[in-house]
């Protein structure tokens, strides 16, 4: 175990290798690129394979193939590249193949994409949204474990800040849990009369008298998805909510800024609290509802046009008004690192909202 000052991307790559990831494929796109660079550096010496895929479609395809053999595999991109991967993500869910997908978003505009997905069918993907490098390092093995446990892709949703912030973290040589994967392919069942099939259309063969009974397969996949949605304990970070008039909900990098501002405002006597969902799916609805109990209002601060507001309103269920107070944060780079990620600005918005509620 070593404590080192590292950039987020490097820390995440270390954590992936530590968690037993042995296959990674990616296609460069800022701010995901550095993770690909680090994996290309770290994975081969660890006995793994890192592929420079020719497109996002191929990146997730390669990772899909590797994961099908039972290897811990991962890929990733940023919003635009992730959009291309969506059809594969939905198919992986229905084929029940675990995979970790790193989404290094530009700003926070990938919320809907990450939590709702753009693929087809009844599927969901767990989403973990760390706010610091240290938390990302902790959540990487959680992502792999959840993927294996539920046989489902899991998203780790970070952003430009997370990838580029340097922080002193423990880079533990974590021993990955050895997971039994009886469904994985190695070729050895050929000729046995029970050769394996791993397919979004169903794993039953005609010899079982079933063949492609898609309805039956989708029903079973749907049950697995629902069990996953209720079986994963939502994670949340919250503070100062017990007697808060106003609860501010924020995730990821912005959650860290909001926490800081709320702490400052508390010290000045304002009755504000914060909630930071760490799992965006399953959304910590109960925790958000509990935090909002007794409050006169809930404000959502995120760097987009208010995507998480839907989930927060569903959690609060009309107990008090839920308003969006964030906004896009674009500078000319387009990477979402612009003026809205600014503690004084966040502070001003929260104070304005408190005043408007009074």
């Amino acid at each position: 175990m070593s404590r080192r000052l590292v950039e987020g991307s490097e820390a995440i790559a270390h954590a992936m290798v530590g968690a037993g990831c042995r296959f990674f494929a990616g296609y460069p796109m800022t701010p995901f690129t550095e993770i690909l660079e680090r994996m290309a550096e770290l994975l081969p010496p660890a006995g793994g394979v890192c592929m420079n895929a020719e497109s996002e479609l191929e990146a997730i395809g390669m990772a899909w193939g590797a994961a099908a053999t039972g290897a811990r595999a991962a890929t990733g991109s940023t919003g635009q590249g992730l959009a291309l991967m969506q059809e594969s993500i939905s198919e992986l869910c229905t084929a029940r193949i675990p995979l970790v997908v790193i989404d290094m978003g530009r700003g926070q505009g990938d919320y809907f994409q990450a939590t709702r997905g753009g693929g087809h069918g009844d599927y969901r993907t767990p989403v973990l949204a760390p706010s610091t490098v240290a938390e990302a390092v902790d959540l990487v093995p959680v992502a792999f474990d959840l993927a294996d446990e539920w046989r489902n892709p899991v998203l780790l949703y970070g952003d430009y800040y997370l990838g580029h912030t340097s922080q002193a973290v423990e880079l533990a040589a974590a021993a990955p849990a050895s997971v039994d994967k009886p469904w994985a392919l190695d070729g050895s069942t050929g000729g046995s009369g029970r050769a394996k099939l791993l397919s979004p259309l169903g794993a039953a063969k005609q010899r079982d008298g079933v063949g492609y009974d898609l309805a039956e397969h989708l029903e079973r996949a749907g049950v697995a998805t629902r069990e996953m949605a209720t079986g994963i304990e939502p994670m949340v970070d919250r503070g100062y909510c017990d007697d808060a008039d106003l609860v501010v909900v924020a995730f990821g990098t912005i959650g860290r800024f909001v926490r800081w501002v709320v702490k400052e405002l508390r010290a000045e006597g304002h009755r504000v609290g914060y909630v930071r969902p760490i799992t965006l799916f399953p959304f910590p609805a109960e925790a958000v509802a509990a935090a909002a109990t007794g409050a006169r209002g809930v404000a959502v601060y995120e760097n987009n046009l208010g995507q998480m507001v839907d989930d927060v309103r569903l959690a609060v269920l009309g107990a008090c008004p839920v308003e969006f107070i964030g906004g896009l944060s674009m500078d000319s780079s387009g990477f979402g690192v612009g003026p809205e990620i600014d503690a004084p600005k966040i502070r001003a918005r929260i104070l304005d909202h408190l005043e408007a509620m009074a």
Binding site: R22, M62, W64, A66, G187, L197
Partner: protein
């Protein structure tokens, strides 16, 4: 066509063939299951009568069996009529999305270098949807074997134009035949793949007659051996009949393949670096 002409044609056809009675089974009749290769679990594949795809799949699995590679074969299937075989083959199958089989096979092979990894795709799947995938896999010299079942139409959706449909060929949405001006030209995928530096073996076979079936089997074996030696990417394109999608009589389909399809997609070995590897 008058009724008389029709009768005459039927008569001609029957003339040089042995015509069996169909009300009772001949003494030496066997069930389909009895002459399907051992790696086809269940005889019923539900593909149309006269389809070339079952012959191509059978050739591939026979070749795998002959090489003694049954217990280390992982196949990756694309989406088309042939997908039905993912469900009754007795070799491991990973089902891919349209076009994506070569990248899935890449991930499989990199993690299981000792496995014999093959993909099975149709022309709509490989050449329309996944053209870049197969080209990149070839360029990388990926140690996999990609098998293309080329019938020039989207058979499963009912016979629509694909990127390999030959000029003049009628399809459901080119009823008067593919027209270069309107519909563009067919892609000769084997030639394109052969131009990639990482491609070690590229061949185009067909299953329209016994000679071509035997030749295609040899091509498949050569391709798998090429993979086993680690020579690089190997590719076998197989022209298959789709009487349903072509809107021709089932018994005319093999001739249609020879006369129309193979006129453009010419059968033969396109690239073979085996000699070079040895020298």
């Amino acid at each position: 066509m008058t009724e008389h002409e029709h009768e005459e044609i039927e008569h001609e056809r029957i003339e040089h063939r042995v015509v069996l009675r169909t009300d009772v089974a001949p003494d030496d009749a066997t069930l389909v299951d009895d002459f399907t290769p051992e790696l086809v679990d269940v005889g019923a594949h539900h593909l149309c009568p006269g389809c070339g795809e079952p012959i191509a799949i059978r050739s591939a699995v026979e070749s795998i069996a002959e090489l003694g590679a049954i217990e280390r074969t992982i196949s990756v299937f694309g989406i088309g009529c042939y997908t039905a075989f993912s469900n009754n083959l007795d070799v491991e199958v990973l089902q891919a999305l349209h076009g994506r089989a070569p990248s899935l096979a890449t991930g499989v092979k990199r993690m299981r270098p000792d496995a014999l990894v093959l993909t099975v795709q149709g022309d709509g799947d490989m050449v329309n949807e996944g053209l870049q995938e197969v080209l990149h896999a070839a360029a990388r010299g990926e140690r996999i074997t990609c098998v293309l079942l080329n019938n020039g139409v989207f058979g499963e959706t009912g016979g629509h134009i694909t990127s390999t449909t030959v000029l003049g060929q009628r399809t459901k949405n080119t009823l008067d035949g593919r027209d270069a001006e309107r519909d563009g030209h067919p892609i000769l995928i084997s030639d394109l793949v052969a131009s990639m530096g990482g491609a070690a073996y590229v061949a185009r076979g067909a299953v329209n007659d016994a000679g071509n079936v035997a030749r295609t089997r040899r091509m498949l074996t050569a391709a798998f051996e090429c993979q086993e030696r680690g020579d690089g990417f190997s590719f076998v394109e197989i022209l298959t009949m789709c009487p349903t999608g072509w809107f021709v009589d089932t018994h005319d389909a093999p001739d249609y393949l020879a006369d129309v399809i193979a006129g453009t997609h010419q059968v033969g070995v396109v690239k073979d670096t085996r000699g070079e590897a040895a020298s």
